[in-house]
């Protein structure tokens, strides 16, 4: 079984989230906020808009959502350096702070999800080789079973920052049946197995928005994750 190393995984999703005290300004300024976002990125497409939550998609890469108490951006298939994402978030966060009048953030989180395909048995074995939980031989809980989709996770927290690391064996099944009118489009059916490495880096205390330079903070978080995650994966 090859060792689990970050370099062997593919970064499939990155997410950034800020939580704040209830921002009632959203009810007054949502239009102004999204107009400013549209000025910056004209290609944004509306997904959902109601008083409690508005969400948009941009170029099939980003999903942006704002709620009364939190705002979130997800990036799908981000480039490994995260340079574009950082630049995007830096500008977007500036607009968010300005239009929602955010002075204090209760939590800032940055989450990366890495995936690596394995065959079904190897995925479970790869997670189990980290040896974080003992699996005794024989029947247990009156079950003649086997470990199929193991998941290990831990939260590592200090006084200001914390990280949640989770390693999960996953089966994924993709099913797409085109509409009968779409005669040239073929159905898609396939399944994969693999290991998901999910890392959530976040602040524990209060952060003033004037303390946060998103570009800089994510650059640091990304660097720290790449530097230290190996220590959690070694058997």
């Amino acid at each position: 079984m090859p060792p689990l190393e970050l370099e062997t995984f593919e970064l499939e999703q990155a997410a950034f989230e800020v939580r704040y005290p209830t921002a009632y300004q959203l009810w007054d300024r949502a239009g102004a906020l999204w107009s400013a976002v549209q000025d910056a990125w004209p290609a944004i497409e509306l997904i959902q808009a109601d008083p409690m939550k508005q969400s948009f998609r941009l170029a099939n890469v980003y999903e942006i959502a704002v709620e009364l108490k939190k705002a979130q951006v997800s990036s799908f298939k981000p480039e490994p350096s995260l340079k574009e994402l950082r630049a995007f978030l830096d500008t977007y966060f500036g607009l968010l702070v300005k239009f929602l009048d955010l002075s204090v953030l209760n939590r800032v989180g940055f989450r990366l999800r890495f995936y690596r395909e394995f065959d079904k048995a190897a995925a479970a074995a790869a997670v189990m080789q980290t040896d974080r939980l003992r699996v005794p031989d024989g029947a247990h809980f009156s079950i003649e079973g086997a470990v199929t989709l193991p998941e290990f996770g831990l939260r590592w927290e200090g006084k200001s920052l914390g990280v949640m690391v989770r390693l999960t064996a996953e089966d994924r099944k993709y099913d797409f049946e085109p509409h009968p009118m779409l005669k040239r489009v073929e159905p898609v059916h396939f399944a994969t197995s693999g290991v998901l490495l999910d890392i959530d880096y976040y602040t524990v205390g209060i952060v003033k928005s004037s303390q946060l330079r998103v570009d800089e903070w994510i650059k640091q978080a990304h660097h720290v994750i790449k530097r230290d995650i190996g220590s959690f994966l070694k058997p």
Binding site: F152, S160, G205, V207, R213
Partner: protein, 207 residues
């Protein structure tokens, strides 16, 4: 279209309130693909996650050094914060000088603080607000025209230094309030050339 839609992240317990939310990626029945759990996989045998908390969070304001812990990545930011600490230390020395050694010792410490403050001007890239306050602090000292600072004036300077040390990415609006505090504290944080220029406009005479 596939009838069953279940984003993969919902298969596991990944929607805790204490986690950064992730999007399902718009995996709906109208998109190109959906991810559904393998019906042949008995999820009952999934090993549950282990959650540990080492120290627990303070819940207080996060310090800048904790927020940006890697000195190699944020070398510029760390240098700026270190210089602000140096300036604050020198201003404390200036206050001590006034109390114990006399005005010359105090003024000497303030002059050394001013020298560091000039270097801080190189960190204007941290933000307009930062540059605005640092510029105003520089002008406040320059506009003294050699007059030593009083203890109250040093106290006002320290307050602004601590503010930008704690919140280097402060907004223009907050920075303007900080500059105003300098003026209210008996300092002149404005460019005197600008006033001279403005006076020309007020003069009705033709030159």
């Amino acid at each position: 279209m596939t009838a069953q839609v279940l984003p993969f992240h919902q298969r596991t317990s990944m929607t805790h309130s204490d986690e950064t939310a992730i999007s399902s990626g718009g995996m709906t029945s109208s998109t190109l693909a959906t991810i559904v759990p393998d019906p042949h996989t008995p999820s009952m045998l999934t090993v549950q996650s282990i959650t540990t908390s080492v120290t627990g969070g303070s819940g207080g304001l996060v310090d800048m050094a904790d927020l940006y812990p890697d000195t190699q990545i944020s070398a510029g930011l760390r240098s700026a914060l270190a210089q602000l600490d140096d300036i604050d230390g020198l201003l404390v020395e200036g206050l001590g000088g006034l109390r114990d050694e006399g005005i010359i010792a105090s003024d000497d410490a303030v002059q050394r603080a001013q020298a560091v403050l000039r270097e801080l001007f190189c960190f204007r890239w941290l933000g307009d607000g930062f540059g605005q306050v640092i510029g105003a602090l520089n002008l406040s000292l320059s506009n003294q025209d050699g007059l030593p600072l009083t203890a109250e004036q040093i106290g006002v300077l320290r307050g602004r230094i601590r503010k930008v040390r704690e919140e280097p990415f402060l907004s223009d609006q907050t920075a303007a309030q900080e500059v105003e505090q300098l003026a209210e504290g008996g300092l002149n944080p404005f460019a005197t050339e600008l006033f001279a220029f403005a006076d020309v406009g007020d003069d009705d005479s033709v030159r």
